[in-house]
């Protein structure tokens, strides 16, 4: 018994470990978190997969064994007791019970007293047995014996549930792995390259795994995550996802998602099963349950404008096509890069303050997530939105950038032009890489404000070089250039002057460009804003650090349905055990077991009566019930007892 309590607490404490430490994460994460020493210690203790750890299973097994032993030991006598009356108690035994009362002299016959006693037992709903004893009767009664059955059901239930759980556990896999028949794969490689020794045959009695199936494709395998890797579970059938649908709430949260499935079973080639599954609505096929678990991209195809951001061709674009999960190599100048398309997102709901400053959920529309990796293997992650988003009243193309996984996103906002396109900005950006055009603007500016200076090549050179510095390195570049040349106390003034000159040149170039583009009414607040936004964007290009800007122009979304498929031979066993448990627990608590004896015997002046109650469950309710019954007897006999052991 002490063991039982200790084990209950032990299992509870052991379970805590697995909740505090996130289980089955990539081992690299643990290594980062704990350092090499503790990483190894924790690994040796199986802390990364506690619930499959031998030591954990050992405590659990001990609990099951001890509970079984307990039931086996107690059940026979309890069952016997449930159906028997203890009719062989003697007078002294009854008198020795704590809760007993005695009427030594009742002015009535033994028979009459017996009738009253019997009536009380019947009123109280007791089952009883009447035996003739010397000079009288003994009523041995019981009530609530089913409580004992409650004990048995509760404890048998625990054992049943644990057995069901074991049927569904990974014991079979662990066994195969232990004997070297199975090897956990930790590399992220295409299915076709997974070696045979990491594949589990369809005969595996119980499993639970996941697979992403793009619309229009099918799969006959699952991936079972094992510690820091996976094994491939083979299925005896193919699941095809013909269509995947997702519905959204108006605030953009997913509301429900569902897949149309076709199950192709080679055993029944002419009987394909079609079904639609959704979250909370799985398909059960021949003992396999197929769940809608998640969703993701299934290789959406996209068309891009790839805008050059560096060199003489900056601001020009070429069309490029790609698909999610595809890697595309490209070169800029001599530098080699790889573009890895990671995800396509149809909806992007973001909280944005509206004109009253209240936060509103707003859909930013489709986006593409990709990485750009340089020849050295360094990658930055980008997320580009397809459609311009109105921010502070102006439409902008948004691109987020982060230079490390999980890092903070920084944003580049490229202003969209009157046609809601990027062309004007890019044209401007292109012109800023053309020193001839810059020169023209500088010269015409100088000619206007200071004709003398216009004649000195040094002046125009200096201004042109400043513009070029800005285009390559932003305001920071101008700042550091000035710092190197100008005394500290004049730095601020010099910077202000430079910025003003820069602004003038850029404005001129902008106006020229707009005229070249055939725009009539250049000028006014709109153009000022556009120019300011463009300048801010160019300044931000410095941190953006990408050789190209990828502008999505069209897409064909292909979604993948995340399926979870399980085979769970123990499930019904567990459910059966659970039912036993519920019945058992409520029987244990709410059936109040009692035994009562009424002994009626002759006395000199009539009858004497002895009454006692016991229960193996001593609670106040029991004492109260006993008292009530005693009162009922007082009412029947018309007098108080002389001796009472009741409290």
């Amino acid at each position: 018994m002490n063991l039982a309590i200790t084990l209950l607490v032990a299992v509870a404490l052991a379970s805590i470990v697995g909740t505090v430490l996130q289980q089955n994460q990539p081992y690299g994460d643990y290594l980062m978190k704990f350092g090499p020493y503790w990483f190894e210690v924790f690994r040796a203790l199986d802390l990364y997969d506690v619930y499959s750890a031998p030591w954990f299973l050992a405590i659990f097994t001990l609990l099951v064994v001890s509970t079984s032993a307990c039931v086996i030991r107690n059940a026979p006598s309890m069952l016997r007791e449930m159906f028997t009356y203890r009719s062989r108690v003697g007078e002294n035994e009854i008198r020795a019970m704590r809760e007993h009362v005695e009427w030594p002299h009742l002015p009535m016959s033994v028979e009459a007293a017996a009738i009253e006693g019997r009536r009380v037992l019947m009123d109280e709903g007791f089952k009883f047995k009447e035996t003739r004893v010397k000079e009288g009767y003994l009523f041995s009664a019981r009530k609530g014996s089913l409580q004992r059955l409650g004990y048995i059901l509760t404890h048998v239930a625990i054992v049943v549930i644990c057995i069901g759980g074991i049927l569904d556990s990974r014991i079979w896999l662990s066994y195969q792995e232990f004997f070297g028949n199975l090897k956990v794969e930790t590399r992220s490689i295409p299915l076709s390259q997974v070696p045979e020794e990491s594949k589990v045959p369809a005969t595996n009695p119980g499993f639970r795994g996941n697979v992403n199936v793009p619309e229009g494709s099918q799969s006959s395998v699952l991936f079972l995550n094992v510690r820091d890797g996976y094994v491939v579970q083979q299925l005896p059938f193919d699941v095809e996802v013909t269509d995947f649908r997702i519905e959204h709430y108006i605030n953009g949260m997913p509301k429900s998602y569902e897949s149309d499935l076709v199950v192709h079973d080679p055993k029944y080639p002419d009987k394909t099963v079609k079904a639609t599954i959704a979250v909370n609505k799985p398909l059960i096929y021949k003992g396999y349950a197929i769940y809608q678990a998640s969703f993701g991209d299934g290789g959406s195809r996209m068309q891009f404008n790839s805008w050059q951001l560096m060199g003489a061709s900056a601001g020009t674009s070429q069309p490029v096509a790609g698909a999610v999960f595809q890697d595309m190599p490209f070169t800029v100048g001599d530098a080699k890069y790889t573009l890895e398309l990671n995800d396509f997102r149809m909806f992007n709901i973001n909280p944005v303050p509206d004109e009253h400053g209240k936060i509103q959920e707003k859909n930013f529309g489709p986006s593409v997530v990709f990485r750009m990796r340089d020849a050295a293997g360094q990658a930055r992650e980008y997320e580009n939105y397809m459609i311009p988003v109105v921010m502070e009243g102006r439409p902008v193309f948004i691109s987020g950038m982060r230079d490390q996984v999980g890092g903070v996103m920084r944003f580049l906002y490229i202003p969209a032009d009157r046609d809601n396109k990027m062309d004007t900005f890019m044209d401007f950006y292109h012109r800023l890489h053309d020193s001839v055009l810059i020169d023209q603007a500088v010269m015409s500016m100088l000619a206007e404000v200071n004709p003398e200076a216009a004649k000195l090549p040094a002046a125009s050179d200096a201004i042109r070089s400043m513009v070029e510095k800005f285009v390559r390195g932003g305001y920071d570049a101008i700042g550091s250039d000035l710092e190197a040349r100008v005394p500290k106390d004049q730095l601020e003034r010099a910077f202000e002057t430079s910025a003003r000159v820069l602004q003038t040149v850029l404005s001129r170039m902008y106006v020229t460009m707009m005229e070249d583009r055939g725009v009539k009414d250049v000028g006014g607040e709109k153009d000022e804003r556009f120019l300011a936004d463009s300048v801010a964007a160019i300044n931000a290009m410095v941190f953006y650090g990408a050789p190209i800007y990828l502008q999505m122009v069209s897409f064909e979304q292909i979604q993948a349905s995340g399926l979870q498929i399980t085979k769970s031979p123990g499930k019904n066993v567990v459910y059966f055990g659970s039912m036993l448990l519920i019945f058992g627990v409520f029987m244990l608590f709410y059936i109040h077991p009692r035994r009562t004896w009424i002994l009626v015997r002759e006395s000199e002046r009539g009858a004497r009566v002895l009454f006692a109650t016991t229960s193996h469950r001593k609670t106040l309710d029991m004492a109260k019930a006993s008292r009530l019954m005693h009162e009922a007897m007082v009412a029947k006999f018309g007098m108080e007892p002389t001796k009472a052991g009741l409290e």
Binding site: T19, Y249, M253, Y257, Q564, T566, Y575, L646
Partner: protein, 401 residues
Amino acid sequence: MSANTNVLNSASGLPPLAKSAGRLADVFWLLVVIGVGLGGLFGFNGRMDVYEVSILIGAVAALAAVGWYWRGIRGLSIAVAALTAIALWRYGVHFGDQLSVGREALAAVQGKDFFLKFLVSSQSAIMWMSALYVGAAFTYFLALLTRTEYIGKIATALVWSATAFGLAGLFARWRESYLINVDYGHIPVSNLYEVFILFSVVTALIYLFYEGRFKTRALGGFVMLVISAAVGFLLWYTFDRGANVIQPLVPALNSYWMKIHVPANFVGYGAFAIAAMIGVAYLIKLKLGGDGERDMLPKLEVMDDLMYKSIALGFGFFTVATILGAMWAAEAWGGYWSWDPKETWALIVWLNYAAWLHLRLTKGWRGAPMAWWSVIGLFVTTFAFLGVNMFLSGLHSYGTL
């Protein structure tokens, strides 16, 4: 030992006329509840699936049964129905039979309609509930210290009213979720904010039951202390985090299972919380010298017994709730047990109380150690309830802070 300790069936002491009038009231109660249930069944017929119909029937049967044995429930039901009816009436006046009107229109009406603004919109009802529970805590302690019966009665009345407002607030919220958007509509037991209201209400009800059954108000202040703590959290959560804003359900929660799994859980949590507070009262009394002549608190033995009863009740319901949770998980996540932190902590809570029950029933432990344990048990339970959401991540991350 005397005849007036008979508290089990106090109705049997009534004169025959009153008795038959009581019987008539019982029958009338049944008819009303069943009538309302049928009204709901036919009124919403088109919108409920077979599971929801069964849940409605089950809920009506449970309410009828509980009210049959416990008359206090009848008055409460009427109060809740009346408050809810006022809310529905006011929404009806403004919106006619439009199913949904959007967040802004709803907020505008809530801001200008007198009844909604000050009484029965879910937000105001919850505020009333909060104030009344906290007031009840003070009043119970005042009654205890002054030994004044009628102050105690006021405290009890406060708890009943708070509970009526809490339940009416939940019902109004249910309607409001549809008013915001038909798609958002759901029973308000889906996030931490909503279940804290549920927790307060359920705990209060279990307490009220014991109060009537054992004829003592002495423990009321202690129980209201936990509820006040819950209310404190609720207010912080409302004003600091805006948690009262109604959000749509994530797909996994969109299931009839939620309607039974969550309430069952909260009977468990509520009962465990009461056991812990009785434990506190027990320990305080022990510290002050135990049973005496002019006791303010019930006899130690009685409190010990009540503590057992609460834990037994909680354990039973928690068992059911955990099993229902497992069945739901089997449907939503593909497995009845995933060792997700919330699941695992439910198991820990359950094992903890199983150990408690064993010690008491098989080893006969009583008194201070068990009282301490039930107080500690509340911390374990609170961690399962709140801590897991705050500190651990997993499949159950619906109600994060």
